[in-house]
């Protein structure tokens, strides 16, 4: 069952302790199979097993050497994320595809100057964000500052206020008046349910969709998302929480 395999793969990498608190254990850039790797980072005296830097350095070296297979692998790995992030700024999938292409042009053109101070991924996504913003401006599209940097300015409840007792309730204000109904387990695991989740994600505002895609679909760590999108920790969590809350609501509406 491919579903189970996918879940195993995911949960091994990321959601190590879903039952407790989420502990993100994925190595940065870990999911791209590495070209010849040293395994032990010569820069750390303790000789601990570090994957991040050698893999990155090797990726960059392979790209510089014109290794098409490495490029293809990175494109396959990142394309979906690049598109999602581009669509925060530009209106359509078609324009987002163009932005991604232009991003790669710029990345390759600047590769000689890449010094490895940030991860390759962070660097590429920063270039993408700049490219997308420039493109949006050129098309006369106004990007609300709050799109990424002030999402909390417009409040959005995780659950509709009318499902709780009013503030004026004499004994338990804010308690559930209409608690979430139990979801039928047999339908939760059905393929249609996953399609509902996918549709709910597609229907999200672009900023929420980008964050939930990177975090929960692609399995990025919160630090990776914050760095790539230049977001604060709090705003990243606000967007992620709203996205997950809307998806949960959609699931409840579908199943209950």
């Amino acid at each position: 069952m491919s579903d189970n395999r996918a879940l195993d793969r995911r949960s091994r990498g990321r959601l190590a302790q879903l039952g407790e608190r989420l502990v993100y254990t994925q190595e940065v850039g870990g999911s791209i199979p590495s070209p010849p790797t040293h395994g032990i980072d010569p820069g750390t005296a303790s000789g601990t097993f570090v994957r991040v830097e050698p893999t990155e350095a090797d990726l960059v070296a392979a790209l510089r050497a014109g290794d098409e297979e490495t490029f293809r692998r990175i494109v396959r790995e990142w394309h979906s994320s690049l598109l999602h992030v581009a669509q925060i700024f530009v209106p359509t999938r078609a324009v987002a595809e163009e932005v991604v292409q232009e991003t790669w042009l710029r990345v390759l053109g600047a590769l000689d100057r890449f010094e490895g101070r940030s991860s390759l991924k962070t660097w590429v996504f920063r270039i993408l964000v700049n490219t997308a913003k420039t493109r949006a401006q050129r098309e006369g599209r106004v990007i609300p500052f709050s799109a990424l940097h002030d999402p909390a300015r417009v409040p959005e409840a995780a659950v509709d206020a009318d499902r709780f007792l009013a503030d004026s309730h004499e004994r338990t204000p804010g308690a559930w008046s209409s608690p979430p109904p139990a979801l039928p387990e047999d339908r939760l695991i059905a393929a249609e349910t996953r399609a509902v989740v996918a549709q709910a994600i597609d229907a999200l505002p672009a900023n929420q969709r980008a964050v939930i895609s990177l975090r929960d679909v692609e399995g990025w760590s919160s630090d990776e998302v914050r760095n790539a999108l230049d977001l604060t920790e709090v705003n990243q969590r606000v967007l992620l929480h709203r996205a997950r809350s809307r998806v949960r609501q959609a699931l409840e509406e579908y199943l209950a």
Partner: protein, 88 residues
């Protein structure tokens, strides 16, 4: 007995991601867990929230069309041949 510090259900549903990310203070995390321990509605809510994360993690990103891939490979190939021209 009313604990003035306790979260209401309406407050708790706003804190689930903070809780799961380990972003709550120790005191707030304890209040969160105490509330969950005593409230069926919020226990169900938390479970559903975790299921959403789990289900989302099973989705496969499949946005790379063959056309987009070949366009990007063209970008790469013209870059590599430009590099070679420079060397020569």
């Amino acid at each position: 007995m009313i604990d003035v510090e306790a979260f209401s259900c309406q407050e708790l549903v706003e804190l689930v991601t903070d809780y799961l990310e380990g972003a709550l203070s120790t005191a707030d995390a304890r209040r969160f867990e105490e509330h969950i321990g005593a409230c069926d509605g919020c226990t169900e809510y938390l479970e559903q929230f975790k299921r959403v994360i789990e289900l989302t993690g099973t989705l496969t990103p499949d946005d790379l069309t063959p056309a987009a891939e070949s366009a990007l490979l063209d970008v790469f190939r013209s870059w590599t041949s430009a590099q070679e021209d420079q060397v020569e």
